[in-house]
């Protein structure tokens, strides 16, 4: 199923296939993401959601035996043709499902990416650290101990630290992979509000197991199952009584998965 790319497409994916050795994880999927929209991605375990994100920022390169074919274009440029893969990864903020505080101070956790990009001025770094921690709803809790270890924070705080780190390199695209599994509902809502704000500047891909989260936040939602794209469409259609595919309705209403 091919969706013609709209002129404002930020990301275009065309016939993307991914296999780990003999096991194919993505069976040739095509879709596009518009600039400044939130695309929800839902689907049961092993449907290829995380693999898709790894192809997008090319961390799939680190997986031995992974083979990718098809095309992913960001602003019209194929990511696999990009010479500076580190620049690509700076343009894409990635929040992994398990919180990872790097074994350094909270400040250094957030300043790590700007430093890697060559930023050294203390005042600039200070500003970035504060802005990102505020956006990740963590600033008030840690502003008095910004020099203490990121790994000593609680799970939920580390998850927000991960979000702050993903924002620290001013990405154009933000990918969130199950960002809320370690966070309480109140904080989750605060971050969701931040995401709605961020939408003006960045394009967001939101992978989630909470179908209601996709319904709340996303403009369009994509349903993946076992490496196939079942359906992609505006939320009004996907979450309606009559989505294009029967399977989508069954999954969202909890009949399976």
């Amino acid at each position: 199923m091919t969706t013609p790319a709209a002129p404002t497409a930020k990301i275009e994916v065309e016939g993307l296939r991914l296999s780990y050795g003999h096991r194919e994880a993505l069976h040739g999927i095509s879709f596009h993401v518009k600039a400044n929209e939130i695309l929800g991605v839902i689907g049961p375990a092993q449907s290829g959601k995380t693999s898709l994100l790894r192809c997008l920022n090319r961390t799939i390169d680190f997986v031995a035996g992974a083979h990718v074919s098809g095309a992913i274009r960001v602003d019209g440029v194929d990511v696999r043709r990009m010479r500076d893969v580190f620049d690509l990864r700076r343009r894409i903020g990635m929040v992994a499902p398990l919180p990872v505080g790097l074994p350094m101070s909270i400040y250094d956790n957030v300043a790590f990416a700007p430093r890697c990009a060559g930023l050294t001025a203390k005042s600039d770094l200070d500003a970035i650290v504060e802005r990102c921690l505020r956006q990740a709803a963590l600033w008030d809790e840690v502003k008095d101990r910004i020099g203490s270890l990121g790994t000593k924070l609680s799970g939920g705080q580390q998850q927000r630290l991960t979000i702050a780190r993903a924002l620290s390199h001013q990405p154009e695209i933000l990918c969130l992979d199950e960002f809320s599994i370690a966070i309480d509902p109140v904080t989750t809502m605060r971050i969701e509000d931040v995401l709605k704000e961020l939408k003006r500047e960045v394009t967001i891909i939101l992978v989630t197991n909470l179908t209601q989260q996709a319904r709340r936040l996303a403009d369009r939602t994509m349903f993946l199952m076992a490496g196939d794209l079942v359906e992609i469409g505006p939320n009004e259609v996907v979450f309606s009584d009559r989505p294009a595919q029967r399977k989508t309705f069954d999954y969202i209403s909890g009949l399976f998965g």
Partner: protein, 311 residues
């Protein structure tokens, strides 16, 4: 659906008091006690020879042990005086060999662990490193003789002996360094890569700072190996006797022959007639003592660094 009932549960359901003992429960506790006793016994058995060796050495060496013994040169065909030339010689050999082997070993290990993909070429290198670690020291000695003494024309010298020891310790340093690097969780690296860090930025920022203790410990443990080996230095640079000044700190040039503690001990026990028994024992105590002090330092360093561990 029928589930097999576990013995403990069955007994409880049969109406015993909540914590009453069943046959199975009694056996379980007895087996636990036996297992514990066996493991403890083996641990004590392991410590016993060490204590016995150290005690025996110190008791036998006692009459000869003194600061003078350490600082003086051998006199009267080695039947009197001290061991200073051999002591300094061993320090020379160990320091130079590790100064060569440690940087090469650590950098190679970083390459193998952080950069190398799983390819045919890298598998061969891995295999070579593992097998090199298992080569007997006498074979290294022969290699050192051929490569450094003759082919490289260093002659019998401190530098030839040190390089031979370096070749010998290198594969073990590579292996221990890789071990230390692998102990840093993969998720840290992935988090760095996700924000656009290069491999080197990841290594410098996260991997190395968190594996220093393991890397240093691995290197320091090689001190005892380099200090203790006899064959490699005997073939390549250590000699029976070399006249140096008492207490002199820089008695050797790199192309000089030198004395070494391990070699000296071998000479004392096999080549010197009418020797007071306490002298070889005292030599052994100095060798063992220096190695133990260095190892204790390594353990201290490890504890200190581990207390600073950050996850």
């Amino acid at each position: 659906m029928h589930q097999p009932t576990q013995p403990d549960t069955a007994a409880r359901r049969a109406g015993g008091a909540p914590f009453s003992q069943t046959d199975f429960g009694r056996h379980k506790i007895r087996r636990e006690a036996v297992a514990r006793a066996v493991f403890l016994a083996m641990t004590l058995l392991m410590v016993a020879p060490l204590v016995a060796i150290v005690t025996h050495l110190v008791v036998e060496a006692w009459p000869a042990l003194s600061l003078e013994f350490l600082l003086d040169v051998p006199r009267e065909r080695m039947t009197a005086g001290g061991i200073w030339p051999a002591f300094v010689g061993t320090i020379y050999l160990v320091v130079i060999s590790l100064a060569v082997a440690a940087p090469i070993g650590v950098l190679a290990a970083v390459y193998l662990n952080e950069y190398a993909k799983d390819s045919w070429f890298n598998r061969v290198i891995n295999l070579a490193v593992i097998n090199l670690a298992g080569v007997p020291s006498i074979v290294h000695a022969l290699f050192g003789l051929g490569a450094f003494v003759y082919a490289a024309r260093f002659g019998f010298s401190v530098i030839a002996a040190s390089l031979t020891l370096a070749i010998m310790t290198l594969p073990v340093i590579i292996a221990s360094t890789r071990e230390a690097l692998s102990a840093v969780p993969m998720s840290f690296r992935e988090a760095c890569w996700n924000v656009g860090a290069t491999r080197w930025q990841t290594i410098r920022g996260v991997v190395l700072p968190n594996s220093t203790s393991g890397i240093l410990t691995g290197i320091i443990l090689q001190v005892s190996r380099a200090a203790g080996e006899t064959a490699p230095v005997m073939f390549t640079g250590a000699v029976l006797y070399k006249a140096v000044e008492r207490g002199s700190l820089l008695p050797y040039y790199l192309d000089d022959q030198c004395m070494a503690l391990s070699m000296h001990l071998y000479v004392l026990t096999t080549q010197v007639p009418n020797l007071a028994q306490s002298i070889p024992y005292a030599t052994a105590v100095v060798l063992l003592g220096s190695v133990l002090i260095v190892n204790a330092g390594a353990i201290g360093l490890r504890v200190w660094l581990r207390n600073r561990k950050r996850w």
